[in-house]
C-alpha cells in the first residue's frame, strides 16, 4: 500500500549537500501542490560539522514536521549519532546508509522492529562512477528517493537543472548522470519499500516560506519602511531578506553596531514618522530591553521580533525554546507597558507581524512578536489566499486641529491614546523624553503626574485587549482534557488533539496568540469547558504556567508538562501526556469517591 504522507530525514557533514537535497525535495513537493514542511538542524559549527534535514511531504494538511522518520538517509553514522536524542525513527523505517561506513550497526544503537529495512547504499561509489565526483552523492540520493519513494521525479530533475544551470554545462551533465544512476539503483529496491511510496494527485503550486521570511514580508505588507538590526541566530534571515527588499519598496535598512543601537534606531525612525522594526533573539532582546522602556515612556510605536533560542546566555543558538516569555512580558526597569504576540506557525508569522504594526501604531507602544527557531527557520507550504491582512496607519492631527492650538502630545484622553505628530508636520513640534512628563511633554518628577501618566499609558491596553483578543481553540466543546499552550507548541498539540478526537477521546486545546494583554475572558470561558487542565511548554522553569497563575485562577490540580528546548515538541509527547492526565484524573476521581 502506498502512502500519502512521507517523512524523510538526511544526515551528513557540512559539504554533503544534505540541506540542498532537502530544499530540492521541498520545492519539488510545493511545486506539485503537496503540503510540505522542512526542518533543518545544525551543530553550532560555522562550516562543516553535522547537519540534518527532515522533509515531510503529504497530500493532507500537516501541522508538524512528523514525529517518526520513515526514511532515513545516513551518509555518515557519526553525524547521525549527534542528532540521535532529537528524533524518533519509525519501527518499520527504511534506513539507507553509506555502504563504505564501517561503523558496526550494533554501535548505532537504533533498535527497530523486524519490519525495518536496513539497506546499505554505495552513495559514494555511485556518485564517483556516474558523475565523476563524490560531491554528487546528494544528487544520486535524490534519484534513489524519487524512484523508490515517489518524491516527484520530473520536478526534482527540473530543480537540478535550475540549480546547475548557472554552472558549466559539464557540471550539469555530470549531476544529471548522477541523478539517473540513482534512479537506476532505486529501481532495484523499489519492491522492498512499496509501503513508503508516496502517492498523490498533483495540485496547484504552493508557496514555500520560513517563519522569518513570513515575518519580513509581513513587515513590508504592514508598511514598515525602516529596519535596523544586528545579526543573531536564528533571526538573521529577516535582516537578510529586508536588505534586498527594503530599498525596493523605498525604505531604509541599517545593520547597527549592536542591539542597543538597533533599538535606538527604530525608536528614532518611528519618532520620525516611519513604521520601524527590528528582529533579534533572546540575548539581543536583553540589550534592547533598556530602550524598550523608552518606547513605552515616550509612547513610540515599534515592533520587535524575538526569535527565541535555547538559553540563558549563548545557550543553544541554533535550537528552539520558549524561554524568553518572562523577558518579553516583564523585562524592564519601571512599569513599561508593551504588547506581546505569539505566532504559532509560519503563516502566523506573517499575520502576527502585521498585527504587531497595527497594534503598535494604534496604541503607540512597543509590540514584541515572540517567534522561535522552530517556526522561524523551518519551511512550510502556504496558499497565497490566506496571506491577506488589513493594515492600520498612524493617525495625525489635521493642520486645522494644530492651527487651533492646544496640541499636547501626551494629552490624557479616555482611551489613553494621545494625538501624535512627527517631523515634517508644521505646528506639531514637540520635545519628548524618557523622563516622566506632563501632557505637553515637559519633564517632571512629581508623584501625582507619575501616577496619572502610568495609569494613562496602561489604559491603552484596554482597547488592545478588546480589539485583539486572538485565541485559537481546537477539539471537543466539552473536554476531559484541555491543553494550554502557546507559540510553536500549537502544531504538535493541534495534531494530538485531532488524533485524540479521531480515537473518540474528548480533548481540546486553547492557544492564545496575544500573550499580553492576556485574553482573559476567552480563557475563563474556556476553562469552564474542560475537566482537567494540562499546560504544555518548552521552558524548563515552566514560565507559561507561572504566567497563567499570576493573573488567573487555574484549577489547583492543573498538570504541567514542561521541558527544556533543543528538541522540537512532538505529537507523541503530547499524546502521552493526554493519556497520563486521563489516567491520573481517573485515579483522582476514584479517591474522591
Amino acid at each position: 500500500m502506498p502512502t500519502g504522507d512521507l517523512v524523510l530525514a538526511m544526515f551528513g557533514s557540512g559539504g554533503d549537500g544534505v540541506v540542498t537535497m532537502g530544499e530540492m525535495m521541498a520545492q519539488a513537493g510545493a511545486k506539485d501542490g503537496l503540503d510540505v514542511m522542512r526542518v533543518e538542524a545544525y551543530g553550532p559549527q560555522i562550516r562543516g560539522g553535522e547537519s540534518s534535514c527532515t522533509v515531510r511531504l503529504s497530500n493532507q494538511p500537516i501541522y508538524t514536521q512528523g514525529d517518526e522518520v520513515e526514511v532515513v538517509v545516513v551518509f555518515n553514522w557519526q553525524d547521525f549519532l549527534r542528532f540521535k536524542g532529537e528524533l524518533v525513527v519509525a519501527q518499520d523505517a527504511v534506513i539507507l546508509y553509506e555502504e563504505s561506513d564501517t561503523t558496526p550497526l550494533e554501535d548505532v544503537g537504533l533498535s527497530l522492529g523486524e519490519e525495518a529495512r536496513w539497506i546499505p547504499v554505495p552513495f559514494i561509489a555511485l556518485a564517483k562512477e556516474a558523475a565523476g565526483t563524490t560531491l554528487a552523492k546528494n544528487i544520486v540520493t535524490l534519484g534513489i528517493l524519487s524512484e523508490a519513494f515517489g518524491v516527484p521525479q520530473a520536478l526534482i530533475e527540473k530543480a537540478i537543472v535550475y540549480k546547475f544551470s548557472k554552472k558549466k554545462a559539464a557540471v550539469l551533465e555530470a549531476n544529471i548522470k548522477g541523478y539517473k544512476a540513482g534512479i537506476e539503483w532505486g529501481a532495484d529496491i523499489k519492491d522492498r519499500v512499496t509501503d513508503r511510496y508516496l502517492e498523490y494527485e498533483p495540485g496547484e503550486a504552493r508557496l514555500l516560506m520560513s517563519g522569518n521570511d513570513a515575518s519580513a514580508v509581513g513587515a513590508l505588507h504592514a508598511g514598515c519602511r525602516f529596519f535596523a538590526g544586528y545579526p543573531i541566530t536564528p533571526s538573521s534571515e529577516v535582516l537578510h531578506f529586508l536588505s534586498e527588499w527594503m530599498p525596493k519598496v523605498g525604505g531604509s535598512i541599517i545593520q547597527t553596531e549592536d542591539e542597543l543601537s538597533a533599538m535606538g534606531a527604530i525608536i528614532g525612525g518611528s519618532f520620525a514618522g516611519v513604521k520601524s522594526m527590528t528582529a533579534t533573539s533572546g540575548p539581543g532582546l536583553a540589550l534592547m530591553t533598556e530602550m524598550l522602556g523608552l518606547a513605552s515612556m515616550a509612547e513610540i510605536p515599534v515592533v520587535i521580533i524575538d526569535v527565541q533560542r535555547g538559553g540563558p546566555s549563548t545557550g543553544l543558538p541554533t535550537k528552539s525554546e520558549q524561554s524568553d516569555l518572562f523577558q518579553a512580558l516583564w523585562g524592564s526597569h519601571g512599569d513599561a507597558p508593551r504588547v506581546v504576540l505569539a505566532p504559532a506557525d509560519v503563516e502566523d508569522c506573517f499575520h502576527a507581524t502585521v498585527a504587531a504594526f497595527n497594534i503598535a501604531e494604534e496604541a503607540q507602544m512597543p509590540v514584541i512578536v515572540l517567534s522561535d527557531q522552530f517556526i522561524a527557520q523551518r519551511r512550510e507550504t502556504m496558499s497565497p489566499w490566506s496571506l491577506k491582512h488589513e493594515v492600520v496607519d498612524r493617525v495625525r492631527p489635521t493642520d486645522e486641529e494644530l492651527a487651533e492650538g492646544g496640541y499636547e502630545r501626551y494629552a490624557d484622553t479616555p482611551t489613553g491614546i494621545s494625538p501624535m505628530t512627527w517631523p515634517g508636520i508644521k505646528g506639531g513640534e514637540y520635545q519628548t523624553n524618557g523622563l516622566e512628563h506632563t501632557e505637553d511633554g515637559r519633564p517632571t518628577s512629581m508623584y501625582l503626574v507619575h501616577e496619572r501618566m502610568n495609569e494613562k499609558r496602561y489604559r491603552k491596553l484596554r482597547d488592545v485587549r478588546a480589539k485583539y483578543s486572538y485565541v485559537r481553540k481546537y477539539g471537543a466543546e466539552k473536554a476531559d482534557v484541555g491543553i494550554l499552550c502557546w507559540g510553536s507548541s500549537k502544531g504538535p498539540v493541534k495534531e494530538a488533539v485531532m488524533r485524540a478526537e479521531a480515537a473518540g477521546q474528548k480533548v481540546s486545546a486553547f492557544v492564545p496568540q496575544v500573550l499580553y494583554p492576556f485574553p482573559r475572558r476567552e480563557f475563563e470561558e474556556y476553562l469552564k469547558t474542560v475537566k482537567n487542565v494540562v499546560v504544555v511548554e518548552i521552558s524548563y522553569s515552566a514560565q507559561f504556567y507561572k504566567y497563567l497563575k499570576t493573573f488567573l485562577d487555574l484549577p489547583s490540580d492543573t498538570f504541567v508538562f514542561k521541558r527544556s528546548g533543543g528538541k522540537n515538541l512532538t505529537v507523541a509527547e503530547v499524546e502521552e501526556k493526554i493519556q497520563k492526565v486521563l489516567e491520573l484524573s481517573a485515579i483522582r476521581r476514584e479517591v474522591l469517591v
Binding site: Q27, A28, A30, K31, L155, A159, Y162, A205, R206, L208, M209, D213, V217, L220, H221, R225, F226, A228, W245, P247, K248, V249, G250, S252, I253, I254, T256, E257, D258, S261, A262, M263, G264, A265, I267, G268, G269, S270, F271, A272, G273, V274, S276, M291, L294, A298, P384, L387, W422, P423, G424, K426, E429, Y430, Q431, T432, N433, G434, R442, P443
Partner: protein
C-alpha cells in the same frame, strides 16, 4: 503680500518657554545660545529638524529648542539620530550631549556614527566631569584629577574626542569654547551645514564640579589653529587635537566623503527609481519554487 510669504526666523524663535535647569555660569548656556543663532543663520525650518540627546546636564538641551526634540537614554542619542536620519534623510538632525554620555557609555555608538558618516551634526559639551550625577570621573578627565569617584586622583588616561572622531571617520571635526560666542557661532553654523558627520567639541566648563575657575583655566589655554592648517590632512588635524597645555580651537578637519545618507538614497533610486513599489502579492510570488 507676495504669494510666498518669507518669514525670517530669529534666534528667539527657536526658544521654548522652558527654563534651563543648568547651574548659573554653566558653559551649556553658551552652547544653547550659539545653537539658536546658528539655526537662525541657516534659517532651518523647526518642523523639519530634530534635536536629539542622551542623558546628562547638557542632554536637557532639546527641551529648550522649539524643533522636534528627543531627550532619550544615557549614551544612546546617536542611535536614535541614526534612525531618524535613515528613515527620513531629508530632515536636519542635530545631536547634543556631554562627554560622559558620548565618550563612555555611548563610545561604541560614537565611533560607528563617525564611520558611517551620516549627515548628522553632533555637538559635544565637554567639561571633563559627570555633572548630573554630581561629580564623578569622565573618560576626558585629566590623569591625576581628584573627583568624587577618584579619591586618590584619576588613575586612568583621558581620551580626546576630536582625535577619536578624526581617526574613526567623521568628515568634519571642530573644537570651540562656550565662552567665546564670536568664534563658536560661525563654527557651529559650519558644522550644521556640513554634508556628512560633523563633530563639534565645545569646551563647556562645569563651574560646580570642576571649580569655578574652569572658565578662566580653559580660556587661558585657548589658542587658534594656525592659518595655514590644512583641514584636509588627517595627520595635521590629529596633531592639533593633542597639543600639550593648550586647547586648539577651530576647524580641525574637513573633507567630503560619501555619506551613508547619500548611499541610502542612491540605493532607493537604483532599485526603485520611478517605478511603483512591488505589492505584497508580487513579493510573495518570489517564494514559489523557481523552476
Amino acid at each position: 503680500m507676495s504669494a510666498v510669504e518669507m518669514i525670517q526666523l530669529k534666534p528667539g524663535d527657536y526658544k521654548t518657554d522652558l527654563k534651563p535647569v543648568w547651574c548659573p555660569g554653566c558653559g551649556d548656556y553658551g552652547v544653547l545660545n550659539a545653537l539658536y543663532r546658528s539655526l537662525a543663520k541657516l534659517q532651518i525650518e523647526p518642523w523639519n529638524t530634530v534635536v536629539m540627546s542622551g542623558i546628562g546636564c547638557s542632554s536637557r538641551l532639546p527641551g529648550y529648542v522649539d524643533t522636534y526634540g528627543f531627550n532619550s537614554v544615557h549614551g544612546r542619542a546617536l542611535t536614535l539620530a541614526t534612525g531618524v536620519k535613515s528613515a527620513r534623510p531629508e530632515l536636519t538632525v542635530i545631536t547634543v550631549g556631554g562627554d560622559g554620555d558620548g565618550m563612555a557609555i555611548g563610545g561604541n555608538h560614537f565611533i560607528h556614527s563617525c564611520r558611517r558618516n551620516m549627515d548628522i551634526t553632533y555637538i559635544l559639551m565637554h567639561n571633563e566631569i559627570y555633572g548630573l550625577t554630581k561629580g564623578q570621573v569622565a573618560p576626558t578627565t585629566p590623569t591625576g584629577d581628584k573627583t568624587k569617584s577618584t579619591f586618590y586622583g584619576n588613575p586612568e588616561a583621558a581620551l580626546d574626542p576630536c582625535e577619536l572622531a578624526i581617526s574613526t571617520g567623521a568628515t568634519w571635526v571642530g573644537r570651540g569654547f562656550a565662552g567665546d560666542m564670536k568664534f563658536l557661532v560661525p563654527l557651529m553654523t559650519e558644522a550644521i551645514a556640513h554634508h556628512g558627520f560633523s563633530f563639534l567639541n565645545v569646551m563647556s566648563p562645569c563651574v560646580t564640579f570642576r571649580g569655578d575657575d574652569q572658565f578662566k583655566v580653559m580660556k587661558e589655554k585657548l589658542q587658534n589653529l594656525p592659518e595655514d592648517h590644512d583641514v584636509t590632512s588627517r595627520r595635521a588635524a590629529i596633531y592639533y587635537t593633542r597639543e600639550e597645555g593648550v586647547i586648539t580651537q577651530g576647524v580641525l578637519y574637513n573633507t567630503q566623503q560619501p555619506s551613508l545618507t547619500d548611499r541610502i538614497l542612491e540605493l532607493r533610486e537604483l532599485t526603485l527609481g520611478d517605478n511603483t513599489p512591488p505589492t505584497t502579492e508580487e513579493i510573495f510570488e518570489t517564494f514559489y519554487p523557481p523552476f
